[in-house]
Symmetry: C2
Subunit: 91 residues, 2 copies
């Protein structure tokens, strides 16, 4: 399985990196830029054939290591192989 | 428009953070973990109504500031509003 995890700063949590990027984009002349949030995009290979078991495993990985549950939210997708028919899965 | 940018270390480029996370997952007892890559997940609000113009603008943002074109690849999606009908767009 190929797992893609999307980690974002939780709403209401300060995201100084996002604010800095928003300011830099404006300085570069990009108009119309609103809020910017910078999170992490994690792609991992996981050798588990059962989809439900894979989803449960990814949730545990996110809670234990990949994300900080106090200040971050995440969603993930699991695909059977690289770049094929992703299966959407929200937390 | 809501823009989601997915930035990954280019294939063949060393990703020490990804290797560290892979090792940590194994140490925590997660079996079957293969390669792990850590990139950035950037979400930004962009006040441009024309989709084609928005795509061109996002490409320029990625090339100028959001990514390092020497060592990173990116894809992005543009949605008309938060979490509605994303329009896939690869570089």
């Amino acid at each position: 399985m190929l797992v893609k995890v999307f980690v974002s700063p939780r709403k209401g949590i300060l995201d100084p990196q996002g604010r800095a990027v928003a300011q830099s984009l404006k300085s570069l002349g990009f108009d119309g830029v609103g809020q910017v949030n910078i999170g992490r995009y994690i792609v991992l290979e996981l050798d588990i054939s059962d989809a439900e078991q894979a989803r449960a495993t990814v949730r545990r990985m996110c809670d234990q290591l990949l994300t900080n549950p106090n200040i971050e939210d995440y969603t993930f997708e699991i695909a059977a192989a690289r770049d094929e028919s992703p299966e959407n899965q929200s937390r």
